[in-house]
Every structure is written in C-alpha cells, then in structure tokens.
Symmetry: C2
Subunit: 621 residues, 2 copies
C-alpha cells in the first residue's frame, strides 16, 4: 500500500510520479472540477448506471436471473468498474466517508457476481449466453477485467490489500493469467485495456507474472488473431504488431489504451524497442493526427484516427474517452522521458477535451467533441439515454456511456498530474492552486504551495513550505505557446525552466506565463481548416458561437483583444453566393464591412447555455 | 409493350421521354461506355454474383437447401435483379442474342425460387430463417421486390408480357399489394425502392392499384412505423413525412430512391403538394448538399447526407449508387418540369460519378467516390470481395456490392437520357454522338443525327434526317457553365436555346459550347474547401494526382491552360511547417517558387493507373 495513492507507478523513468494524496487542489479551474466530480458527477453516474440496469446486472447474476434480466451493451460492466475506480480516488483524495460507504456497497454487489474461478462478467458464460471468450472481437470480457483491475489497483494503493474490491480484482487477474497465460488460450481482446491494467497490478503487488501476461497480450496482438470485422483489423490494432507500427491508427480509444499499456510494459521490462515504438507513434499522432484541442479521432465511422493531417473540424469525433486515454499515454511518456511536449499534450487535452465533456452542473456530457457545429441541434431527452455520437449538446447519459465514468476517474485523480520528482528535486507540470507534499528520491520530504488563477491569469507563485536543507532544483514547465515567459523576472524558454537553490521555508518563486489571446494557424497540410485561424489564450482554445458562425470572416491584420479576461475578435460579415449551384466560376468577393468586435467563448464552456452553433476555426478568406 | 423501351414513362409532365430503342449511341464518351458495359461489366457482374453464391441462393431456395446454403447479406437477391434489369436494357439496345440467352437462364433460376403466393426472397420465411417481414428495418424484402419489379418493367417494355421475368415480377407485385395493401400489414421497408418500382409498373401495365400501393407506402413513411435503430429514424426517412420534409437527409441512396418514387406518384396522381416537396428537397440538395462532381452523401457513418454545406472532400462518401439515384431523381424532375437545372445535374453526375465508378477495363468499381485521397492506399485483393468503403482504389467486387449492377443498368439505358419530346418538338439534353428516332406528341416521326466529340470538344452538330413538314422546334440545352455558347453562330444563354423551323431532311444546326479549362470556386459556406479552387472543363471535373497533392499551391492569377485537350495548372510548392505541433502561432509563409505547369487528370479517370494520391480542390493559400 502506497500512502501517496499513485495511479501510475513505473519501476523506472526520468521522473517519479506523485500520488492523489500528495496533492490538494484548493479551488480554481481544477479544484472546482474536482468538487463538481465529488458533489455531482459521481452521484449522477451512480444513478444512471442503476437506472439503466447496468448495476442490476450484477444482482441478476448473483441471483441467477441472467440472461433474462441482462441490460445494456456487452461492456456495461466496465462502467461500474470505472465508477468504482473514480470513487476509490475520490475517497483517497477527500476522505469522504459517504463515498467510502457507497463504494463498499457497490463493491459488494459486484463481488457477489464473481464465480468461484474468478471469472466475472454478466454477459457471458451462463446457459443462454455466449460461452466465455467466444467473441473476443466484440465481447469486451478482457476489457471489462482491465477496468475492474484498474479499480482494484486504485483501491489497493489507497485502502490496502484487505479491501473487498482488491480481492475481487486479484481473483479476476489470476483467472485471466490462468486462462490466457502461456499454454492457455492464444487470444487477445478486441478492445485493449487489460494490458495497462495488468502492468499496473504487477507494480502494485510486486507480482511479475501480471506484467508478463500484459507483455504476452501485447506480443500476441497485430498478427490477425482476431477474426475479420467490417472495420478491418486496424480497428483493433490487430493489423500490425505494436512494436513495428508507425502510427496510432484505428479506433482511437483502443489505440491509445494499447499504447499506454505498451509504455508500462516497455518501462518495466526495459524494452527500449517497445518504448521507442510508443514514442514514435505518439509523436506522429501529436504532429499529424491531433486536433487543436488535443482531441484525437477524425472519423465517426469506426471512432477512428484518420490519415495524417485529416482533421475535419465538423466531423471531429474526438471522443472524450480518447482524450482521457491520450492523457494516460502522454503522462506515462512524461514519466518515462521527462520531455515537456507530453506535459503540454496533457494540459491541452485536460483543458479542452476532459474539461469540455461535463456540463457546468456535472449532469450531462459530451461524448463527441466537435470543433464545428453548423446547426444548433436539439436538447437531448433528459430521461432517456442518447445515441452516443448524434447529440449536438451534452446529454445526461448515453446508450454507450463510457465517457462520464472516464471523466470521473480522471477528475478524481487529477492531483497526480500536477508534479513529479527526481533525484534533483521537484518538477511542476500543471498549474493549479493547492499544496504538494511529496518526497524526493533520497527520501527528503518537500512541501510546496502553489498560488495561481491560471489559466485566467499567467502568474504562478510557488512557495517552499519545507524541504531538504541542501540545494535542490525546482523545475517548472513553460508551455510551448508561452514565448515571453519569465521566472522570477528572468526570461525563460518553452520547455522546463529551473532554479537550483538551498531553499528555505517561505522562499517563493514566480513564474509568469504570457496568458493573452493569440491567433493560431494550422499547418497548411491540414486541409479542412485552410484559410481559417483559431484563437487561444494560454492553454485554452476559444470558439465563436451564435449567429456569426455561418458568415463570419475574421480580420487577422488586427490582433484579438484580451479585455478583462474576455477575448474579442474583429469579425466582418462574409459574402455568400446563395446561387442555385454553389460552385461559381468566379472567386467569392471580398467584404468592405467594418469589422465588429465579437466575444469568443472558451471551448470547454460552449453549449452550456443550450443549443448553439459553434466553430473553433474562423475563416479569414 | 412500348417499342421504344422507356425506363420512365410518366402519365403527365412538361416533357415526354424517349426510350432506349429510340437512341443509338455511336462511340464517343458514352457509346464507348455502353460497349464496355456490354462486353465486360455485365459478364463481370454475372461472374461475381455467381462466385459469391448470391445467384446460387435462388437454386438453394428451389432445392430446399436454405437457410443452410444462403450466402451474402440480406439484400443479395437485389443484385441479381439489377443485373437482370441491366441485361433487359442491353438486349433492347443492342439486340444481343447472347445476352438474351443469359438473361433467360438467369430468370429461370430466379423464377424457380418464387413461392406459390408470389413471395420471393432467399433470406426469409423458411424454417430456420426469420419470418417474412419480421425485420422491416433491415430485412430489405420490399427493397428486393422493388428491384425485381424494375427488372420486370424493363422486360415488359422491351420483350412483352409473355416473358418469364415479367410474370415473376407481376406475381411479386400482386403479393406485395395483397400483403401491404389497405387492411394489410401497416408497414414500410427500411430501404425505399418499392415505391418507384410500383409506380412504374402501374404505368407499364395500366393497373392503377400498383400506383395506389406506391402512394400508400409513401404516406405511411415518416411517422415512426419503423423500429428504433442506432442511426436514428432519419436514416431511413421515417422521421418526417416526405410531404412536409424540407431536405434530403439520412442515408443518401434511401433518400434519393424515395424522392424518385415520390415524383412518380405525384405526377401520376396529380399531387402537386407532393411534387413541390420533391422539388423543394432536391433544390436544397443541389444548392447545399451536393459535391462538385454531383455526388451526394457527406458521411461515411450511415452513408448519409450531411448538414447544409457540410461537404468534406476527403471524407466524401458520394456513393456510386447515390449518383445513380440522383440521376433517376433529376431525370424525373426534368420530365415533370422541363427545367434545365435537372438536366445539368444529370450530366454532371453521369460524367463525374457514374462514369468514375468503373475502371477502364470494366472489371473494378469505386463504391465511394472521394474527392481527396491523401495516401495512395493499396490495390484491393483481386480474388476477394472488398469492404465497401475502405478501398482507396476501384475493387473488383464488394461484400456489399450494389454499385456495379447499378452502373450496369444505368449504362445500358443511357440512351433514354439524351432527348425528350413535347408537342412543339424535340429537346436535346445530353450530347453524345448517335442517332435519335422518336415521335412527337402528334405522332409525327422525327429522326436526328448528332455528331460531336463532346466533352473533348464543344461542337455539337445536329442533322435532321426526317421529320414533319410543318415547323417544329429543336431545343438544345446550354449547360450552366457554358457562358459564351453559340447556336448557329448566335450567342445563346445557359438554359435552353431553340430554333423553330420547317426543317427539311439534311438541315443541320450547330451548337458550340465553350469547352475550355476554367477555375471553379466554392460558396464560402462550404468550409471544407475554403482557400482552394477546382478546375473544370466542360462537364468534367479535373483533379490533381501524384506527388504534388500534398504540397501544391495553385496560382489563380494565371488561367489554367487548355492545350491539345490536356489541362495544365500553374503550381508552386507549398511551405509546410514540419513542427512537432502543427498549430503554430504565426501564419504560414508565402512562396516565391516559380510555378510549374502540372497536368490534371479528368476525375472520372483517376486511379486507373494504380494507387495514387488525388485532390479535386487545389489550395490557393
């Protein structure tokens, strides 16, 4: 049991993580969202999983009422596991006895459905159901086990080995190893997830066989072991081994979970070839297959990555879960390499995908995160699960509802993304008001206070409350966009800036990041946004909403205005042809209209006032 | 039996159609393709339907081997029916005894599977299969009947009522009316098609009850009679009655077949409200939901129309069958209204969608017609059916293979699109070398010879070979792009130009259309092609292929060159950032590179030399 509560605990790496108990966020952008998670999102997810009958599936299993009373899709069990993981981190973070009680009650219902050999799934294995592992392509059994094991790891690291959820997860993991180990079933799951879970369980228990099983699943994939499906083998990354593949491809969440598991296995087995493969694929994704928001997945069809530079804003899939998965992957690569680009990606994705999904009241979610909404659309039905990708607004719940619980477990464990340590000192990666109490590699405790209004304001004041007497190094991340940043008044470059000093209690340093509205262009190879520009302010992407969306043309010869934290851009009306055939033989004319200053909305906040048009990329021509 | 062989024969309308026997195409763009259809495409489709076991399904039905030996998807029967329709028109057009023999043999196998009450489907109704009409959402039974009936109509109009295919189709139609008539099953098919088929059968037989059944199906749809599906009710146009809907929406082929049937029903019942609905929805599609190629369908997901102006070139679905269906719809509206815009749409779609699908050798087809191919892709496996939409090249056959047989029936009946008649004379809509022999409304025969190299050359010489002695009017379509056209040397405007004269045999008129390469821009509301330009030459869309696709920037201050029928455009290399994050804070730089003249390819011919990159819309910025 780790007192810190580490979501990820690699055996090696450039940087060592902090745990959810090491960090207290006190209000501000992320502190507010952690509170929203605690007070609204968790209960909302509990109520909906209950209402949909997905929690009841476990009762039905225990009471012998399956398959008759089974509700939901084949992966419904996993929502309860992700909720249990979220609750585990929440209890660790806040010490809430109420959440602890609900977590235990839910765990007991899950545990009652586990079979004597450790198998646990409400969809398979009973008379009238498909046989166990009879549908590895779509059955999601190992995927569900993966989420159960991740929940178990969260609990093991925060409540200890005696907890019921830990025991259930260990029995499940042992079952998986017995069934799929060397000499067992020579299969992999259609949806990666078990890899990252088993690798972490190995770390949490010290049992190497879980790591070996994760490595085995990784090596097996990519050779066509899964049967043919309409989307093709790339959909579940069974077209090519991870080790040799050059790109994240196919279903985005699958690809990203798999890559996260590959990093874990690579790090813990010292497999540099495997780590290089993850770095190579992630670099290509960040350079060519990522939306400005950090979102990934360009196709609705197959919820998949597109080709390089194929990033249509209006058909962006950018699933919330792919954002969560990208944060998982990039955080693992940050720990492995210490490179700022991964922390940049984590920040961008947290602010513009993960924070965008939940409504301001925590009771509705975006599943898909489009960058351009042409028609305002409708309010989803409040009392019914919505189709996952069809909604133009946040919906209370979905027929496939992976995103809300994924947001919940990410928000509950957010503290772990804020900082890391190494032999030389502490690194701050994400800026949020709060306290960090951790230990350096030599065992010296260190405690810091972070004061900031970031991202509304760029000043970040870090006060050393306690620490070793010797000199040590405080490193702070300067985001790639932050040209002109200063650290204690001295200019610093994007990447990491550092101060090495024998800090005494009360010493403070101040990082100043130039948080101002700025124009952002796209690589000309991103065809879908040619002739447009976006506006960012610090780590936040902004968007235009309302009536101007259809006809706006922005004047980039004038700078975007940053007035009292509001962003305004000069917009002139766009000429449109309105002809019976929309492809004229003459170029569209210019406009002489005097530009009007129009306020933009932070992307993460759009749609909170009801149906609306929206666009991130605003035309310049 | 109509000697002319009319595919469509409305009871009213501004213009009267000509039949496939009235028109002989002698070489040139379309004559060559009709020959390709006769010599390669028909046999290719015959071989593949056989090889896939789809034809064998009928034998298996007759021999009591179903469901065991059933092959293919639920709509596989329809491919054989579309092939039979194509063969029927081909026999009528060419008189081929070989095709007649194959058609009869195939008909006999189909007929053997028909049940005593007229029901005919290899997928439903037997022990071990779903009950008849138990899956109206996805079962496609009425859809299959629709294609069977269309084939029967083709045969009735070209071989007479004694033909076996006609008898099979009539028994099927009678079964449908008995089963789904007033007081019968209150349902509609998930895939429209039966409507257009029954309406035409009513015309061909003079039996009004078929028309009434078509009208009944139309009226029933749009009220949520079909069960819920993941794509939503708009997918199969069951969200709103056709009569009140404002847009073509949902699955494009479904929407277009339905609209074609609506026009037929509206015209024959004198239902102007229904006709207005078809006109309104088609106008909106042509103004806001159509690709430059004439292609329709912006989403891979659901093979569906997108929102207005949502026309991504790289994710264009633009299914070949939607092109065929759009030609059907626009031709019907041309006959109903006499307006040139519909003939313009037919021309554009025939040249840039229907002609694009088949390979030069007639043995591979595009199912999806993208307007931008970023990666060259791979050659599809020659011996296996390809996934329908995944291929980057024409494939020999598809798991869902609706397109090849749809192309075949369209090419075989192409003559019928060339001209129409009315009380005053003859109208030429499509320009193809050949002869037209028809009769005016007063019964006077008229015969014309058309000489042209169109679209390679814009001169069209029409010679009157015979006709009435009184004055009559020859009308010729001037396409919307053809500013500067002349008729016998006099300037004429887009729309229709006409000459009224007491023509004597040997009189010739010459239309000269300005077929030269030209820049074409897009309405600025089509966001996905902002900052780009396309090149057209006459009715042909051109495209850039090869290495320049990734980096080309075109110089529109210079005109595209039209040299010896080849189109060349000035291209300067594009600067790309190549940065680790593709969204820089500065605008992409210009280029000083001297432009190079690069040849373009007619869009319909792209991909015939193997895998290639391609783009229709070429960046200007």
């Amino acid at each position: 049991m780790s007192a810190a509560g580490l979501p990820v605990d690699p055996s090696h790496g450039a940087l060592a993580p902090v745990g959810v108990r090491d960090v207290t966020l006190t209000g501000g952008f992320w502190g507010d969202r952690q509170r929203l998670n605690a007070t609204a999102i968790l209960a909302h997810a509990e109520q909906w999983t209950e209402r949909m009958g997905w929690t009841g599936n476990f009762d039905a299993a225990a009471e012998g009422r399956l398959p008759r009373d089974r509700r939901g899709r084949e992966f419904a069990d996993s929502e309860i596991y992700k909720l249990l993981e979220a609750m585990s981190w929440e209890v660790a973070r806040s010490g809430s006895q109420d959440v602890e009680r609900r977590l235990r009650a839910l765990t007991a219902r899950v545990a009652a459905a586990q079979e004597p050999d450790g198998y646990l799934n409400t969809m398979f294995g009973r008379p009238g159901q498909g046989a166990r592992y009879s549908d590895l392509e779509w059955g999601h059994e190992l995927y569900c086990f993966g989420h159960l094991i991740q929940a178990g790891v969260a609990r093991l690291r925060t409540a200890g080995p005696g907890d019921q959820l830990v025991r259930v997860a260990l029995r499940a993991a042992d079952h998986v190893c017995a069934e799929f180990g060397p000499g067992g079933r020579d299969g992999v799951c259609g949806h990666p997830e078990i890899e990252v879970a088993l690798a972490e369980l190995a770390r949490a228990t010290g049992e190497r066989r879980y790591l070996e099983q994760a490595a085995l699943f990784l090596d097996r994939r990519g050779h066509g072991r899964l049967g043919p499906i309409g989307f093709g083998a790339a959909y579940f990354q069974d077209d090519e081994p991870f080790r040799t593949a050059s790109a994240l491809r196919g279903h985005a969440v699958r690809a990203l979970y798999l890559a996260a598991g590959a990093v874990d296995v690579a790090v813990d087995t010292g497999d540099t070839e495997l780590l290089d493969a993850a770095i190579r694929q992630t670099a290509r994704a960040l350079e060519r297959r990522t939306y400005l928001t950090g979102g990934m997945g360009s196709h609705h069809e197959g919820e998949a990555f597109g080709d390089d530079f194929e990033l249509p804003p209006d058909r962006a899939y950018s699933e919330t879960c792919a954002g969560v998965a990208s944060v998982m992957l990039n955080q693992r690569l940050l720990l492995a390499t210490g490179e700022a680009r991964y922390a940049d990606a984590v920040e961008r994705t947290l602010y513009n995908v993960v924070a965008t999904s939940p409504a301001a009241d925590g009771r509705a979610f975006f599943y898909v995160n489009t960058l351009h909404q042409r028609e305002p659309g409708r309010v989803p039905e409040p009392d019914r699960a919505s189709p996952r990708a069809a909604s133009s607004l946040r919906a209370p719940w979905f027929e496939v509802s992976c995103c809300p619980t994924n947001v919940a477990r990410t928000l509950a464990s957010l503290g772990a993304y804020v900082a890391t340590t190494d032999a030389g000192g502490v690194q701050l990666h994400q800026y949020a008001a709060g306290r960090i109490a951790t230990t350096l590699a030599d065992g010296s405790p260190v405690e810091l206070r972070v004061e900031t209004l970031y991202p509304a304001d760029g000043r970040v004041r870090v006060t050393v409350l306690s620490g070793p007497e010797r000199a040590w190094t405080l490193r702070v991340r300067v985001p790639a966009w932050a040209s002109g940043a200063t650290l204690d008044g001295a200019a610093v470059q994007p990447g990491y800036a550092e101060l090495t000093r024998a800090f005494v209690a009360g010493d403070a340093v101040e990082l100043d990041l130039p948080v101002r509205a700025r124009w952002t262009w796209a690589d000309p190879r991103i065809d879908a946004v040619r002739g447009t520009v976006a506006v960012e302010r610090g780590p936040l992407v902004y968007c235009l909403t309302g009536a101007d969306v259809a006809t706006a043309r922005v004047r980039t010869d004038m700078a975007p205005l940053d007035r009292d934290g509001r962003v305004l851009v000069p917009i002139a009306a766009h000429e449109t042809t309105g002809a019976p055939w929309p492809y004229p033989g003459t170029a569209p004319g210019g406009t002489d209209a005097e530009p009007e200053l129009v306020p933009l909305t932070p992307y993460h906040a759009w749609g909170n006032d009801g149906p609306s048009t929206m666009r991130v990329w605003i035309p310049t021509v």
